[in-house]
Assembly symmetry: C2
Homo-oligomer: 456 residues x 2
């Protein structure tokens, strides 16, 4: 139960030090409390607030930290004597304080003495959120609509958490390595499984066996065109592609996020192969462009361009690539952003809204091809982003009468019909922006046609 990390106190002190240069008021961060499932004692596995985790380094339940001028004070109650019977020996508050390098530790009842002038970020669970309001003595707006010192704090946290330190990178790499093994197991399992559920189970088994958890609800589906498919009931048919978007979160709460799409039979059809190669080219071209200073939005546009060019080459789209892009014709087949920041959250800091992904002065476009873009900032060293272009035939888009009318001349619908065995393909990797370019943290999991046709 102790985080087994060398230099955890030093890493945390370093984060506090940086924070203290950005804010001159006390900060209180709450970890949150377990959420009940069907009755109070039956809880979902606890996951502490990411902002708390970033500065506390330990997913403690019902705890808070106060950060001020580089100091760390921990607020947590000692376990009840009766809890030893049910949960065994658990660390004392002072042992916890020592492990994370806290300067002092107090029971939670002392927290209100720190409340004056303190900023915070509201957590996800409502009961802790109510405690936050109570103790601070003021109403807290949702985390994506903060004001005053809370907004200043959020901006500071975005600065810090956008650039990963060595300790964070080690965690993300650990999670990524587990995800790689899960995907290899998934490819292997798909060759002999009869349902999506069996492949999902084989993949999540790897994650559980390494004492990790899923960073998000896995997508494992033959219907890749259902972008957030969260069911696993389809049977696997020989001609199917299976899209698996599965990522581990390690014991310290750090995420990874990988998608691979592979043929259940071990062999792409010619049409599947054509489309796969377009998505792979978009993926590779985006990653090749990554370096500090590059606009993430330009990567998104590049993916759109590669996809458009590929579809023109196949005769599915008609006309000049530049014109098609200007009309957002690519978004008919690529209706999401090319990726997002990754860290303690799979969509890192998404609780804070577009403050995270959109540079000051920039707002989301309402263009069909850009509205889903989660990140519109120049890349900086230390960022970890996903690159995840995809190509889908979404009935809700392609059968929409307005879209069909608008893009009637842009699409060769007869030609498109020949690709009906390609419902959805996505390829996603996690990429660190380095001084000199990019390091693909998930590179050990191949993306080639050959690898997807192999046995994991």
């Amino acid at each position: 139960m102790y985080p087994q990390r060398a230099n955890l106190p030093e890493a945390l002190a370093n984060r506090r030090e940086k924070l203290s240069k950005l804010v001159d008021f006390p900060v209180i961060l709450w970890s949150g409390s377990p959420l009940s499932r069907n009755f109070r004692a039956n809880v979902y596995p606890f996951r502490a607030s990411s902002h708390f985790l970033y500065f506390a380094g330990w997913g403690l339940e019902n705890a808070a930290i106060c950060l001020e001028a580089g100091k760390l004070e921990l607020f947590i109650d000692a376990p009840l004597p009766s809890s030893t019977l049910w949960h065994g020996e658990t660390p004392t508050p002072s042992a916890i304080a020592e492990t994370i390098g806290a300067d002092a530790v107090y029971p939670l009842s002392e927290l209100s003495s720190k409340a004056a002038g303190a900023a915070t970020i509201p957590v996800q669970d409502i009961s802790t959120y109510q405690q936050q309001c109570d103790i601070l003595g003021r109403f807290l707006p949702p985390a994506d609509k903060l004001q005053g010192i809370d907004l200043v704090l959020a901006e500071a946290i975005v600065k810090l958490r956008s650039h990963h330190d060595a300790a964070a990178l080690a965690e993300i790499k650990q999670a990524a390595n587990c995800s790689i093994e899960a995907h290899l197991a998934g490819i292997r399992a798909s060759r002999t499984s009869t349902t999506e559920a069996e492949v999902r189970a084989a993949m999540e088994r790897v994650i559980l066996a390494q004492q990790m958890t899923c960073a998000y609800n896995s997508i494992v589906t033959t219907h890749g065109e259902i972008l957030h498919s969260d069911r696993y009931h389809h049977s696997l048919q020989p001609g199917d592609l299976l899209l698996a978007d599965v990522g581990a979160e390690n014991s310290m709460g750090w995420a990874s996020d990988i998608t691979r799409t592979f043929p259940v039979s071990g062999k792409f059809s010619p049409t599947q192969r054509e489309i796969y190669q377009i998505v792979l080219a978009a993926h590779d071209d985006c990653i090749a462009k990554i370096r500090p200073g590059v606009e993430y939005r330009d990567l998104h546009l590049l993916a759109g361009e590669v996809i458009t060019q590929g579809l023109v080459d196949l005769g599915i789209l008609k006309g000049k690539v530049a014109n098609l892009l200007a009309r957002d014709a690519h978004a008919l087949f690529f209706p999401h952003g090319v990726g997002h920041l990754l860290g303690l959250d799979v969509h890192d800091m998404e609780d804070l809204g577009d403050l995270v992904g959109y540079q000051a002065g920039r707002t989301r476009s309402d263009r069909f091809g850009l509205c889903y873009l989660r990140l519109d900032r120049p890349l900086e060293t230390g960022m970890v982003v996903t690159i995840e272009p995809g190509l889908y035939q979404v009935p809700a888009i392609l059968n929409d009468p307005d879209k069909r009318a608008k893009y009637q001349d842009a699409v060769n619908w007869e030609r498109l019909a020949q690709f009906s065995d390609v419902r959805g393909i996505r390829i996603e990797d996690d990429v660190l922006v380095t001084n000199i370019g990019a390091e693909v943290l998930t590179a050990k999991l191949p993306t080639t046609i050959e690898a997807m046709e192999g046995n994991g």
Copy 2:
């Protein structure tokens, strides 16, 4: 996504019919809403309120039902057009209504027109709980402290849900069969695994592969004496026993709950074998006694007696069995109740508190040997209970100075020390009370020494 159940409308109509004989006011039950993990869009897998599930038969998100005089009205909003892009085609409200046999379906905004004089049960998630209070226009106490018509409703629901109909039993059996396979996989995996986590992963893989989920957080530990151990970090050593308390919940929300304890090496030590046989005898003797009219409390006392006799025979306890029982000496080693009701919840209806487990006029004992008993009612046909005696060496109990003083003469501490390789053993099955006795729903999973030494 549609529940694939023949006669679902009939089964639900039957439950409403029975309810209408017990309450003469309208009832509104809410399903609840998904709970966020680290940011809003990253949710825990949704699990509808059990009371809603019992009468609605479908784990719908953000829905409510109104029950009155045998009629079923469904309140749910149509999916947003944009949700089709992310989630694919989802059933319309009228298709849902038809599947569950609702008499009418309305958008949620209509629900307030039904609020006057309606009773409810508060759900677990606070945001839906706040909606409940808002729409009913009154404060709702916690579900275990209801008053007025809500209490009358809770009592009626306890009557109904305590006795399972044929539809419910079919669901519980499906969940139990999956759990049996998971345990067989766990025994098999333990022979080659190096950590608790690997065995847990092998077991939960079976549950996920069958499109089910865990009814509760699995316990898979070599430290069975930590009664609610929820971590999986210990390595497996050749002399270890592994205690696995793992149960599937099927797609309709029905639970199962099985514990087996087996030697990692495939071979019990002589001391482990002695203790295992005591627990098994308690388990078998309790199940043999089950029939309508038998007091569940007497089964608990019987388990205590068998355990006490066994420990006296081994020379671990000293004195007369009756005297030792009167002094609660058995509770030193068996510090929990012998089981609980099972249904949609693994501890069925535990949200309603001791209203469920304790017959009117009975309250929890404060005796060391009885205070954890969850069920103190005469058994009735149609109940499903767990029988789960156990024998543990809990340091928090056995090293407690008060307990050591009190039981100084009752325990042969030197003899006990010879059993140090037995930290915790529990054997748990799910048992249906029938007209003529008992049906062990989990009987296909053996409990014998030979089976625990085999390869699953």
